[in-house]
């Protein structure tokens, strides 16, 4: 709703758009309580929002001074008539354009995710604060600055030029992936919130496939990746909210439907020449969808990580690659490779070293696990590492 109003009246009025939308919802709760929920609640909301928006801009001089010339200019350009509607198509268009506007390089990526959550996914400030493990004031400030930036940079709510789309799309995909990861790996215990983040990321991704210009192989690869990860969402958390490691997960809890969706998008991503990091990560995630512990599987994973690291280095990929090397080639060749990584402040690094030393040098293995435990950030992780130490004694 915010996206549609902003599209019509310009991104500089984004806060007014937000106010109108919350007023509309407030009115709805009051109104529906006394009169009952209308037959078509969505249409009701859209009609009220539209009336409120039009009357706001009429009431204010802004309408004559700024908005009308702006609208006239837009109409001359686009040749579309008085198109301020909440039609399905216009909602989709506006959301997609808002997504591209938010993903302007002028705003920091954390603020981009925040804005996407607030405006496109309708999350409350306290929910966003919880997802980021931050407080409401920080988030409010961050969003305020980002909106200021949208205004001062005069970002337009329209699709960037053809060649800009390709450049901007990488950032859009990145933000969607960060949004997803925020939900998937977030430290917050709120399961529903975390799932919502993942679902919203998937929704935005799928939305990009509905337009030819953004429906690129890498878009499909990213969706496939998110599907494969999501398929394990229920299996990786116990009833008590504890994290369950991959090896101990119950395959029965893996969501088969999401896996086959993932395969569908992975097939679509195979078109074209470009091999993006999303392609490689999606294929790795797909390998993990079969639990068989074969050398062939780990060999494939190893080679995918080799390729991934050549395109883009990350400590997590380096550690996973070395684990795959261990599974495919054995502990002995993997050990010197692991020693070279030198990720001395990363507890996963010492967990990996501990695993590799387990069959070669027990006391060294224990020393590594002890260091990992000292570096671990949560009690749950420390507990898992302690179990590994006890197993060696």
């Amino acid at each position: 709703m915010v996206a549609v109003i902003s599209k019509r009246f310009g991104l500089q009025h984004i806060e007014i758009a937000e106010d109108i939308v919350s007023e509309t919802f407030l009115l709805a709760t009051e109104n529906w309580k006394t009169k009952g929920v209308p037959a078509n609640p969505a249409a009701w909301l859209y009609t009220v929002a539209k009336q409120k928006t039009l009357s706001y801009f009429r009431r204010n001089k802004i309408f004559e001074d700024k908005v009308i010339p702006e609208i006239n200019r837009k109409q001359e350009q686009q040749d579309n008539t008085d198109e301020f509607s909440f039609s399905q198509q216009n909602i989709k268009d506006s959301q997609l354009q808002m997504l591209f506007a938010i993903c302007t390089p002028a705003i920091a990526s954390e603020a981009q995710i925040g804005l996407a959550l607030r405006i496109l996914c309708g999350f409350g400030i306290d929910e966003i604060a919880e997802a980021f493990l931050s407080n409401k004031e920080t988030i409010n400030k961050r969003l305020f600055r980002a909106k200021e930036k949208l205004r001062t940079e005069q970002i337009q709510l329209s699709f960037p030029a053809e060649n800009e789309i390709i450049k901007r799309l990488d950032n859009v995909l990145h933000i969607i992936y960060l949004l997803f990861s925020e939900g998937y790996y977030s430290k917050t215990q709120n399961q529903i919130l975390r799932k919502d983040l993942c679902i919203e990321a998937l929704r935005l991704g799928v939305m990009l496939t509905e337009y030819d210009r953004t429906n690129l192989p890498k878009t499909n690869a990213l969706i496939a990746l998110m599907c494969f990860h999501s398929s394990r969402f229920d299996a990786r958390q116990s009833g008590e909210g504890e994290l369950i490691l991959y090896e101990q997960q119950d395959e029965e809890l893996w969501n088969r439907e999401l896996i086959s969706q993932g395969i569908h998008f992975l097939n679509l991503s195979a078109a074209g020449e470009e091999l993006s990091t999303y392609h490689l990560e999606a294929r790795i995630a797909y390998c993990h969808c079969t639990k068989e512990d074969t050398t062939e599987k780990w060999e494939e994973i190893l080679q995918l990580y080799n390729q991934l690291l050549m395109i883009s280095y990350s400590p997590a990929a380096a550690l996973n690659r070395t684990f795959a090397l261990y599974k495919a080639n054995g502990a002995e060749p993997a050990l010197p490779e692991a020693e070279k990584l030198k990720l001395e402040d990363n507890h996963f690094y010492f967990v990996l070293l501990g695993e590799l030393y387990s069959d070669i040098d027990k006391s060294k293995a224990i020393a590594c696990f002890e260091r990992a435990k000292a570096l671990a950030k949560t009690p749950a992780e420390q507990q898992l590492i302690q179990l590994k130490i006890e197993r060696l004694h």
């Binding site: 080679q303 380096a318 490779e337």
Partner: protein, 112 residues
């Protein structure tokens, strides 16, 4: 951090009789070795991989065909890595599969 080029040279070898498994094993060695450099965050870019056939032009318009029997080591290709020093780059080059095949790695800083 500086950029360094690794230039791989290997004795000429006729791979046309090698089985698919042998070729795959050679590829794996190279991919694992380069993957190891990438896992340290020190891989920069691929140079072109060179095919075996080619020609050599010499002074006086003399053209010879490959496979370069008269050259002890032919150029196999190159990659670019990043390292703090020439010494560190040389350490990275250890374990290169070209060495197993009796070849060499030349390590050269990129002119900055």
């Amino acid at each position: 951090m500086k950029d360094f080029v690794f230039i791989f040279r290997q004795p000429s070898y006729d791979y046309s009789n090698s089985s698919a498994e042998e070729i795959a094993a050679i590829n794996k060695k190279w991919n694992d070795w380069i993957g190891g450099i990438a896992a340290q965050g020190k891989f920069k870019s691929h140079g072109a991989r060179l095919e075996v056939p080619g020609k050599v032009l010499k002074p006086g318009g003399v053209v010879t065909d490959g496979p370069f029997v008269e050259i002890r080591e032919r150029l196999g290709g190159f990659i670019v890595v990043t390292a703090d020093s020439l010494d560190e780059a040389t350490t990275l080059a250890h374990g290169c599969p070209a060495l197993e095949a009796d070849g060499s790695v030349e390590i050269r800083p990129v002119f900055a």
